[in-house]
């Protein structure tokens, strides 16, 4: 039995991972909840966010607080990219079968991954941590990076912010209405097409933000898009596609399973995650906190 302090550190590691997963998966879940599109390219937006952060960091390197500017610029550029793609391309496929939308977002995965390779090469890139968050703090005799603590607090903050927007503002009310009945919303005079674009942009922004924030603690490499998207799928499936709190719960579960699974059965941790996903799909296809769809 490992000592308790080690277990605490391990669970904090899991929590850091969970918060990244939450940022990315909440965007995926939001887009699915409103647009009914399962966006394979979400992982690609995450990857582009990370690469753009690298780019902006090397651009702003002499400015004070350059890391934060890079994060803002990178995530907003990703949102813009998402908006353009939705408006010009994806929106033309809404009337088709789901398979068409699914495969189009997969086409985006292929295209964006090669664009990233052309622009930034295949070598591993990295961004250094912002000065304020360098170093580590001592937790029960173990060192834990300050940056990770920042992420652990940022995740819930963003969750809370979005919960407020969704539940307390007029825009949030409209978005929730769109997930229930988009035809009715349209006939009540809301511009549903514009709403879809905005929602897709918010979702892309979250993916881009996840990529931007992960850049100081993970290697920026081709292939990070495909790796994260499956994890994000698992999170939203476990929590419930389109469910906000479900996504948070799913992220925390997956984060802890990954972080402790490696200790308990290093070989099987990966299998275990997929089994978990399959079990949830079999017993509660709508996820732990989702609602069964009416259609």
């Amino acid at each position: 039995m490992p000592e308790p302090s080690f277990l605490i550190i391990q669970s904090l590691n899991g929590l850091t991972l969970a918060m990244f997963l939450f940022l990315i998966a909440s965007g995926l879940s939001l887009i699915f909840g409103i647009l009914r599109v399962l966006n394979f390219a979400h992982g690609s937006f995450y990857m582009v966010g990370a690469y753009l952060t690298y780019q902006f960091v090397s651009l702003f390197i002499n400015a004070p607080g350059y890391f934060w500017w890079a994060v803002i610029f990178a995530s907003c550029t990703v949102a813009l990219l998402g908006g353009i793609i939705e408006r010009l391309l994806l929106s033309r496929l809404y009337l088709r079968e789901e398979l068409n939308q699914l495969l189009f977002t997969y086409a985006l995965v292929l295209i964006l991954s090669d664009f990233a390779r052309i622009l930034w090469g295949t070598e591993q890139l990295s961004v250094s941590r912002p000065a304020v968050l360098k170093g580590a703090v001592d937790i029960f005799g173990h060192l834990f990076p300050k940056y990770n603590i920042f992420i652990i607090f940022l995740g819930p903050a963003i969750a809370l912010l979005f919960w407020m927007i969704l539940n307390k503002t007029r825009w949030g009310r409209i978005i929730r209405a769109a997930s229930l009945d988009r035809e009715m919303l349209g006939s009540l005079g809301v511009n549903v097409n514009r709403l879809f674009t905005v929602v897709f942009m918010i979702g892309s922004w979250l993916a881009g933000l996840g990529g931007a924030l992960v850049s100081p603690i993970a290697a920026i490499v081709p292939g990070m898009d495909v790796e994260i998207i499956i994890d994000a799928f698992i999170v939203v499936v476990i929590g419930g596609l389109g469910s906000f709190w479900g996504t948070l719960l799913g992220s925390v579960i997956l984060g802890q399973v990954v972080s402790f699974g490696i200790l308990v059965f290093p070989r099987l941790s990966m299998v275990f995650i997929y089994v978990l996903m399959a079990i949830v799909l079999i017993l509660r296809p709508w996820g732990l906190l989702g609602k069964p769809s009416q259609r």
Binding site: L38, L89, R92, L93, R96, E98, L99, N100, L102, L103, F104, Y106, A107, L108, V109, L110, I111, S113, D114, F115, R117, I118, V226, I230, F233, I234, V237, L241, R267, L268, M270, V271, Y274, V275, M277, A278, L281, I282, P285
Partner: protein, 308 residues
């Protein structure tokens, strides 16, 4: 025989002539297309005929490949026996997984097939002592009597032609018609007293059976298997091939495979950005030719007839 059957016979004879060119390139490409073509057609039984989007068909392909190779290498079974067993292993895997998957619909069905294929991938990837993990299984030998490119080509051709014959019989049978009915409207099919889930499960199993045959051939053909063949990008690729050829035509997926594999060989010889090209082809297809190549040709025929 009908005109279409004569045409098919002619094409088969032409394909059978490929080894006469004695070009290793064409024999290789031909075998590859035959194997992947069968895989795509077997997927399309689910996709085009039953209306089920399987995002994890690589699982049954992989089960076939691994079963055949392991039985030959570890159990010392002769090739014909291993080959037959692997096809049934594919069907069995499809039965077990299918029981769970067919309870779901649409996007959830696709997600669950994806989850199961990832489970099988993770097992193949991690079970080093059995599957060799990431290093895969290498040095799978051709059985002595198939030990040349041309001989294996003819063997593959025979297996694929036979499989396609059976599959075509299946889709044109009352059973196959019922699958199409289910695709069009599962609820109404249920109303007329059809056990929709049972038909879907049967379709899933037949599809798994033939995917496994393709997988077993693939392993022998390449002399090696890596867990990659089970992973979801592989499953996505065969979906793209199917769509390229046209999912509402029996031979569409085969045509799509041929075009795609030929293009890939040509393109990858002078650029490494094949995914970019594949992604672009896929987008153009989705926006402008949703019926794929065969769908486009059919439209063209209808159009030219209408003009007369």
């Amino acid at each position: 025989m009908s005109r279409q059957n004569w045409l098919l016979l002619l094409i088969t004879l032409l394909v059978a002539g490929i080894p006469l060119t004695e070009s290793r390139f064409y024999i290789f490409l031909g075998t590859d297309i035959l194997i992947m073509g069968l895989f795509a057609v077997s997927l399309n039984l689910l996709l085009g005929y039953t209306g089920l989007v399987s995002f994890g068909q690589g699982a049954y392909f992989g089960v076939g490949a691994y079963t055949c190779a392991l039985l030959m290498k570890k159990a010392g079974l002769a090739f014909p026996a291993a080959f037959l067993v692997s096809a049934f292993a594919g069907a069995l895997a499809a039965l077990i997984i299918g029981v769970f998957c067919i309870r779901l619909t649409k996007i959830y069905f696709a997600m669950l097939t994806l989850a199961f294929s990832q489970i099988i991938w993770a097992i193949a990837f991690k079970w080093n002592s059995l599957t060799g993990g990431d290093n895969g299984i290498i040095g799978i030998a051709f059985p002595p009597y198939l030990d040349s490119g041309a001989r294996f080509f003819y063997f593959t051709l025979a297996v694929v032609v036979l499989s396609l014959y059976v599959l075509r019989k299946v889709v044109n049978s009352p059973f196959g018609r019922m699958l199409t009915t289910i695709r069009e409207n599962p609820e109404r099919t249920e109303f007329i007293g059809i056990n929709v889930k049972l038909f879907q499960l049967m379709s899933f199993m037949i599809s798994g059976f033939f995917s496994a045959i393709a997988g077993a051939l693939f392993g022998i053909f390449n002399h090696s298997i890596f867990p990659d063949i089970l992973s979801w990008p592989q499953s996505a690729e065969v979906l793209i091939m199917t769509l390229l050829g046209g999912m509402y035509n029996f031979f569409g997926p085969f045509v799509g495979t041929a075009v795609m594999l030929y293009l890939r060989l040509q393109v990858t010889s002078y650029t490494q950005y094949w995914p970019l090209i594949m992604g672009t082809i896929l987008s153009v297809l989705l926006f402008f030719f949703p019926g794929g190549i065969m769908g486009f040709l059919q439209d063209l025929r209808v159009f030219s007839r209408g003009k007369k």
